[in-house]
C-alpha cells in the first residue's frame, strides 16, 4: 500500500466535552462544545458522539452506540460545532442537549478532504445535513470556493446560512432553484468543465449523481460518504463500502474518498 495522507490523530479513548451552546436553524440543531483536550480536526474528519447522561434506557433501550458526525466548524479554545437533524433515537437525544450538559466524544477520526489539485478551483456541493463538512472545508480553503447546496424545502434550506454565498436548490422549489442540486452542478460544470475540483457530501443518491457527472467530464471529485458505524476507529469492520479496491472501512480509509475509486455510491445508512 502506498504511504497514506497524514491525518490529525485522536487522543486515545473518549472524553467529555461540555455543551457550550445549542442553536436551532430551521430543521437543524447546531451543537457547540468545548473540547479543550482535543486537537483541531481536519475538514472532513468526524467524531463519535453520545450524550453523557440518558444515552440508552429510553424507549426501546436505544440509542446504545455512539453516532458519527462530521465536524461542522471549529472555534477558539477547542470549540467544535456539529450539525444534526433529529431523525432517530440518537439524533433526537443529542438535539435535546442543553448548555452545560456533557457530550462524550471520541475523535477526530478518518481522512478528510485534500486540497484541489494545482490549477483547479474548489467547488463544494452539499445536500441536507451533509453540508456540515463543507463549512469547515470552506473555512480552511479561505475565500473563493463556489458552493452549491440542495435541500428538501425551506425549513432545511435555512442550513445554507452556514455557508454564506452558497447557491441553493430545493426539491419543492421554495428556495432557489427548483430541483436537485446536481442540476446546478451540471450547469456549472458545463460552463467551465476544466476549472473545477469538486468536494461533495450528502445523501447517497446525490453523491452518486455527483460522482457520475464528474466522472463523465473527468472532473476531480472527492466524496464524503456516510455509513452505519459502531466504533469509528477500525475495530468493528461494520462501515465498509464497496470500492474498486474492494470493501473499505469508511472510518479509517474514508470518510472522504476519491470519486474515481467508486463505481457507484449506493450505501445504506446506519442507526440514526
Amino acid at each position: 500500500m502506498s504511504a497514506e495522507r497524514a491525518r490529525t490523530l485522536a487522543p486515545f479513548g473518549r472524553r467529555v466535552a461540555s455543551v457550550s451552546a445549542v442553536r436551532r436553524l430551521g430543521a437543524y440543531t447546531i451543537l457547540h462544545c468545548a473540547d479543550a483536550a482535543g486537537p483541531r480536526p481536519d475538514a472532513g474528519q468526524f467524531y463519535m458522539l453520545a450524550t453523557e447522561t440518558g444515552w440508552g434506557g429510553g424507549a426501546g433501550q436505544r440509542p446504545f452506540l455512539p453516532r458519527a458526525f462530521s465536524v461542522l466548524r471549529t472555534g477558539p479554545e477547542g470549540e467544535l460545532q456539529f450539525l444534526l437533524e433529529a431523525v432517530g433515537p440518537g439524533t433526537a437525544r443529542l438535539a435535546e442537549l442543553a448548555p452545560g450538559e456533557g457530550l462524550w466524544l471520541a475523535g477526530p477520526f478518518g481522512l478528510g478532504f485534500a486540497p484541489p489539485p494545482p490549477g483547479f478551483s474548489a467547488l463544494l456541493v452539499g445536500g441536507g445535513v451533509g453540508i456540515a463538512p463543507l463549512a469547515i472545508w470552506g473555512d480552511q480553503l479561505g475565500p473563493g470556493p463556489r458552493v452549491l447546496l440542495g435541500f428538501r424545502g425551506a425549513a432545511h434550506a435555512r442550513g445554507a446560512e452556514l455557508l454564506p454565498g452558497a447557491e441553493v436548490a430545493t426539491d419543492d422549489g421554495s428556495v432557489g432553484h427548483a430541483g436537485p442540486v446536481t442540476e446546478l452542478l451540471e450547469a456549472v460544470l458545463s460552463a467551465e468543465p476544466a476549472r473545477w475540483a469538486v468536494s461533495a457530501c450528502g445523501p447517497a443518491g446525490m453523491l452518486e449523481a455527483v460522482r457520475a457527472l464528474c466522472a463523465r467530464r473527468a472532473v476531480p471529485a472527492q466524496l464524503a460518504l456516510e455509513s452505519g458505524m459502531a466504533c469509528g476507529f477500525g475495530a468493528c469492520f461494520g462501515c465498509v463500502v464497496p470500492t474498486r479496491d474492494g470493501l473499505l472501512r469508511l472510518c479509517v480509509d474514508g470518510p472522504v474518498l476519491d470519486g474515481a475509486r467508486l463505481e457507484h455510491v449506493d450505501h445504506p445508512g446506519g442507526a440514526t
Binding site: R14, C236, P268
Partner: protein
C-alpha cells in the same frame, strides 16, 4: 490484580473479545498512544482463516435494544498475508498476543495452528469453532463430538495454550466445554455472539442474512452460560458478554471466570478495557 492464565502472567484479568479491537487500525486513528496505553492485559486478534476473506456485503450493523447485531463475516488477509502484514505490527504489543483462528475442516485448523506454533510472537491460540465443518455440516463448537474430534487433531500440533471459543448457539455449551477439556483444551472462552435477526421494513436488513447479537442485551444469558461452563470444567474460563463496567466483570469472575473479555463496549469507549480493569479493582467480590 495480576493473574496467571495458561502459564501467561497478565497484569489484570481484562482482555478483548476477538474481533472487537483492531490494533493496526487503532494506530492509524490514535497513533502510538494506543500502544502506550494499551487497554487490555492480552490482545486477542480478529479471526484469521487459511484463505483471504472479504467478509459479508454491507450493511453489516444494526442497533437492537441495548446492543448490537453484526454480520461482518470474518474479513482478514488469510494466513499468508496475515503473517506478512499483520503479525509484524502486532509484535510491538506490550502484552501477550492471542491469535484467533478458524478453519472449515479440522485439517484446515491444524494448518493454521502449526503455522502460528512456529511463530515466537504468538503466546496462545484461540479456536473459533462457531462455523460448520464442511465435511460433516455440523457446527464444530455446537456438538461435543465435533469439538473433541477437532481438539484431538490439533492438540498434538502445538504446546501453546489452546483456548476454545464456545458458541452460545447450542443446546449444552457445558457439554461442549467438557469435551474440549477432555480432548486437551487449555481453556475455554464464552460467549460468542447470539444468533439474531435484524428486520427492517419486514425484511432482513443485514447483507449476510442473520447476525450475532452482543452488548448488554445478552449479559444475563452470558452470565448463566459462564456459570454453567465454569461448574463443568477445571480448566480456566474466559467470560464475556455485555460487559460495560467493573461490576459486570466482577459478576463473571464470581461465577467462575478467570479472565473477562470486553467486546462491544470498546466500540462505545475505545479505552473501555482499562476503565473496566480500574473499576473492577474497586468492585466488591463475593
Amino acid at each position: 490484580m495480576s493473574v496467571r492464565f495458561c502459564g501467561l502472567e497478565l497484569a489484570h484479568p481484562i482482555v478483548n473479545a476477538s474481533g472487537t479491537f483492531d490494533l493496526i487500525a487503532a494506530r492509524r486513528a490514535f497513533g502510538d498512544a494506543v500502544l502506550h496505553d494499551f487497554p487490555f492485559a492480552a490482545h486477542v486478534t480478529k479471526t484469521v482463516t487459511l484463505r483471504p476473506r472479504q467478509g459479508n456485503p454491507p450493511p453489516r450493523l444494526w442497533e437492537p435494544p441495548a446492543g448490537l447485531i453484526n454480520s461482518i463475516g470474518l474479513p482478514n488477509r488469510g494466513l499468508e498475508g496475515w503473517l506478512e502484514h499483520d503479525l509484524p505490527l502486532l509484535a510491538e504489543l506490550p502484552v501477550p498476543l492471542v491469535v484467533n483462528v478458524m478453519g472449515f475442516t479440522p485439517a484446515e485448523v491444524g494448518t493454521l495452528v502449526q503455522a502460528f506454533d512456529a511463530r515466537p510472537e504468538v503466546d496462545a491460540l484461540e479456536l473459533n469453532v462457531s462455523c460448520p465443518n464442511v465435511e460433516t455440516g455440523l457446527v464444530m463448537g455446537a456438538d461435543p463430538a465435533e469439538t473433541a474430534a477437532l481438539l484431538r487433531h490439533v492438540r498434538p500440533l502445538t504446546d501453546r495454550p489452546l483456548i476454545v471459543k464456545l458458541t452460545p448457539n447450542c443446546s449444552d455449551p457445558a457439554a461442549v466445554a467438557r469435551a474440549a477439556e477432555q480432548a486437551g483444551a487449555d481453556a475455554v472462552s464464552l460467549v460468542n455472539t447470539l444468533r439474531g435477526l435484524a428486520l427492517s421494513g419486514g425484511r432482513p436488513w443485514l447483507g449476510g442474512g442473520a447476525g450475532g447479537v452482543s452488548g448488554p442485551a445478552i449479559r444475563a444469558v452470558a452470565l448463566a452460560q459462564v456459570h454453567d461452563v465454569a461448574a463443568a470444567v477445571t480448566i480456566p474460563v474466559v467470560g464475556m458478554g455485555g460487559v460495560r463496567r467493573g461490576q459486570d466483570a466482577r459478576d463473571l469472575l464470581d461465577v467462575g471466570a478467570t479472565l473477562v473479555a470486553v467486546g462491544t463496549e470498546s466500540f462505545r469507549d475505545p479505552a473501555a478495557g482499562a476503565r473496566v480493569a480500574r473499576e473492577l479493582e474497586a468492585a466488591p467480590g463475593r
